[in-house]
């Protein structure tokens, strides 16, 4: 596709290295005194993180579960401290292929749909029903290093070529036009400001429940493409006037102050190279046809 000023969406994807990184299916870990506080201090115990989540999939609602930080699909991580954890985190990209390599579902193939403290992969329901904690899952990582030839100001983060091409990005007036399901105001971006932008996500802060309803944020779905103005996600995440970041919702809401659905960085630009239009269908499950 050629833009009005002779730009194109050409990428360097023919140079990318595709590499397997292995992990195992996790099982929930509970600390002594697992209560987590609501904003008023009321304690709660809720499921959501680790393991195989049978009834929450990419494309489902992000709000309203009786859970906290619900991770859709299967949460996988390294089973030791060998450095594979960080290899997984820094090499996996959203939309990468994954394959079960041991256990009763061996051979099943799925897709990376997110990254929390663990990598979130989704297979079909039949495979989920056969998988067990400890089964090995391998991600065929590809995407770190992906760049756009004609948009040097645009950084791509954890973006697989498969997802990039599926997002329906167009060009107008020398800028990328991205379709996003939800726009978030920068002032509600919370937990995760202390992390690298290739490592895990930054939660939106959902504690102002009236604001969530006023802005329609409470209709967000897991897998929604998210846009944030004045958010620079090049190296970490910070306020910078005029910057735009494009992200994806990867986990469910939280009851805890400063937390909420997880927003993972896909694209960022400082100088107006990215703009967006709102389109409720901009969701990973639809874009990659992941199925219900």
């Amino acid at each position: 596709m050629t833009g009005s000023e002779g730009h194109s969406l050409a990428t360097n994807e023919s140079t990318l290295v595709e590499m397997a990184v292995s992990a195992i299916v996790t099982t929930p870990a509970v600390r002594p005194g697992q209560y987590i506080p609501h904003p008023d201090g009321t304690g709660a115990v809720l499921p959501g993180m680790y393991g195989i989540t049978y009834n929450v999939r990419c494309g489902d609602r992000a709000f309203g579960w009786a859970g906290d930080h619900v991770e859709p699909g299967v949460s996988i991580d390294d089973d030791g401290h060998s450095g594979r954890h960080h290899a997984l985190h820094y090499l996996n990209c959203i939309g990468n292929d994954a394959m079960v390599t041991s256990g009763m579902a061996a051979g099943a193939t799925g897709t990376v749909i997110g990254e929390h403290a663990r990598i979130l992969v989704q297979f079909d329901a039949e495979a989920h029903a056969l998988m067990a904690p400890g089964d090995r899952v391998q991600v065929m990582t590809r995407g770190q290093g992906l760049t756009l030839r004609d948009y040097s100001g645009v950084a791509l983060k954890k973006m697989s070529p498969r997802l990039f091409h599926a997002m329906g990005i167009t060009e107008a007036d020398g800028r990328l036009q991205v379709k996003a399901a939800v726009e978030l105001p920068i002032r509600i971006m919370g937990s995760g400001a202390e992390l690298n932008s290739e490592y895990v996500d930054q939660d939106l802060m959902s504690g102002d429940r009236a604001l969530m309803a006023e802005l329609g944020i409470d209709k967000m779905r897991l897998g929604d493409i998210i846009a944030i103005r004045h958010a620079d996600h090049h190296w970490g995440r910070s306020y910078r006037e005029g910057a735009v970041s494009i992200c994806i919702c990867i986990h469910g809401d939280s009851i805890m102050t400063g937390h909420g659905p997880g927003i993972l960085t896909l694209m960022t630009a400082r100088a107006g190279e990215i703009d967006f239009t709102l389109d409720p269908s901009a969701n990973l499950a639809d874009l990659l046809k992941l199925g219900a």
Binding site: R187, G190, E194, D208, A210, G258
Partner: protein, 292 residues
């Protein structure tokens, strides 16, 4: 003015730690951090004995990354360190109990959070010169449980009753207005959101220097009392319209994305019972007579 507290009911208890040493990451001994522009930098950061940065000095302009003024302590056992980090309150008395400076008294001026978890203690420079890394320092922790009978919606965090009494404040129309040198809007609050509000730090983010200046935040001094708009810090820190938190600048600025001067949060209210008024004299180094 004075406001009635339950100070007579507060339990004063010992906590202790050792003078910390600066830490760098392990092999391959990569010493660099990245600034918000992706450039590698190597500057002193948290921990250790800092001879030439003191509470009362500028929070900006140092060749350092979130430097703790004076002396930082931590406990080698993680649970005991948590006891130290939660119970120590700004304004508490500290005493050196081993080494060449044994018997010298200091004052807690701040705490730090995720990735460091230290308590920051002011000593005059002549005392600092006698302190050795690993010397034991005891803090007479007093303040957790502090409450105001006339303002039940206000919660205290990490503030000594005596320092509360000494801070500038007024009461107008049922609102306790704390004297502050600056007020931070929610979009300028970064690292520390979503993390515990019982200890640790919450950082102003300083990547956008023009916005920092426009908000009057570029002249802060260590020890300044500041207001955080629309911030609920009862249980973790997060966004809530109408809420307010009060913090004390405990650490210097730093160049990482999402970071900037670190604050120790000392008061919060989800409703309008807590407010602020401009008070250029609201600096704890001046109020407590801390001298380098």
């Amino acid at each position: 003015m004075s406001v009635a507290t339950n100070a007579a009911d507060i339990v004063c208890v010992s906590v202790a730690g050792k003078v910390a040493n600066p830490v760098l990451s392990g092999l391959p001994a990569e010493p660099y951090r990245l600034d918000a522009d992706g450039r590698a930098f190597l500057w002193p950061t948290f921990g250790g004995i800092v001879y030439n940065v003191s509470c009362g000095d500028s929070a900006f302009g140092w060749s350092g990354d979130c430097v703790h003024p004076s002396v930082s302590i931590s406990h080698p056992d993680a649970n005991k360190n948590r006891g130290l980090n939660v119970f120590a309150c700004v304004g508490n008395e500290a005493m050196i109990v081993s080494g060449a400076a044994k018997g010298e008294k200091g004052v807690v001026t701040g705490k730090s959070g995720r990735f460091s978890e230290q308590v920051i203690i002011h000593f005059p420079v002549d005392v600092r010169r006698k302190i050795a890394v690993d010397d034991q320092i005891l803090v007479k922790a007093e303040g957790v449980g502090l409450a105001l009978p006339e303002f039940p919606e206000i919660t205290f965090k990490s503030l000594s009753p005596a320092l509360f009494d000494a801070l500038p404040k007024t009461v107008e129309d049922g609102v306790l207005k704390m004297g502050v040198t600056a007020s931070v809007p929610p979009h300028m609050i970064g690292a520390g959101l979503g993390l515990t509000s019982e200890g640790g730090s919450l950082h102003i983010q300083s990547t956008d220097r023009a916005e920092l200046a426009a908000q009057g935040l570029d002249k802060l001094r260590l020890g300044d009392v500041v207001a955080l708009q629309d911030t609920d810090s009862r249980y973790n820190h997060g966004y809530l319209r109408g809420a307010m938190s009060i913090g004390i600048v405990g650490q210097t600025d730093g160049p990482r994305a999402g970071y900037g001067p670190g604050l120790t949060i000392v008061m919060t209210s989800p409703t309008g019972q807590l407010g602020s008024h401009a008070a250029p004299e609201a600096n704890i180094a001046d109020i407590l007579g801390l001298t380098a």
